[in-house]
Symmetry: C2
Subunit: 151 residues, 2 copies
């Protein structure tokens, strides 16, 4: 019994101590996951962009729906940039993600914040307010890509 | 002025009349989008599966978080199975998706419903309740894959 309890305790401890990256069996899985989440986010962000840039008519309801998906997706990719996920798939991630973790976290936190603001802005139903929030969010995409993503 | 107004009206009409698939510039974009959404969903559904199957310890809070992402993602892929998106990328989609639209819609609606129940079940904090909802959701994945996805 004692051995079993010890193994169970160790297993629990391991589960608690495990970094988020351990939720992925292989680096490829983490890479595929983060790329998928960012891709879905990009699709919906692009639809707001099309409204903001006048390529499609402004639809206040659709703007909210798209912004809410963007904000939900914005929370997901970061846990999949764990240790050891710099290689193993077709990734454009720069090594700086893992050598400048504080900066990377600052950028990803900023993006989560700005996408949250994007939802609030979309709910005003005011295209000018949405434009401002869209630009601020787009700037967080760009600054992070410039620093941490290979071309 | 009249010509401009006419073009603007036509553009608006087109945007209203356009099917969801028209939200994607190319079939490849729609295919990538739906695969990405389903992949993110699969990752989080798999984490609930690992708890349900005893591969990782049951964590009620994590179960809710994962179920909520599953349910959100479950709403997304279907708009990306529009006309013309049967080819153009590396897709396993069977032609039956487009020839048996009512059945496909019935299956996707069922999945949205079951993932909604999965969230409710996860919030009970009861592993047995979660197991039942997980099995029901997994069955909707399987039946749809059997009917509409190539191996």
């Amino acid at each position: 019994m004692r051995a079993f309890a010890c193994i169970a305790a160790a297993a629990t401890l391991l589960a608690i101590a495990a970094p988020a990256s351990a939720q992925f069996a292989k680096p490829e899985d983490a890479i595929k996951y983060r790329q998928s989440a960012l891709s879905v986010m990009g699709t919906h962000f692009g639809r707001i962009g099309a409204m903001v840039n006048g390529k499609i008519p402004f639809d206040a309801k659709a703007a909210v729906e798209n912004a809410e998906i963007v904000a939900e997706m914005a929370k997901l990719p970061w846990a999949a940039f764990g240790p050891g996920t710099d290689k193993g798939g077709n990734t454009k991630a720069k090594p700086e993600i893992w050598t400048e973790q504080a900066k990377f976290k600052e950028y990803s936190d900023k993006m989560v914040l700005e996408t949250g603001k994007l939802v609030i802005a979309s709910k005003t139903g005011n295209l000018d307010v949405l434009k401002t929030a869209f630009a601020a969010t787009a700037e967080t995409c760009k600054s992070c890509h410039d620093a941490f993503r290979n071309k």
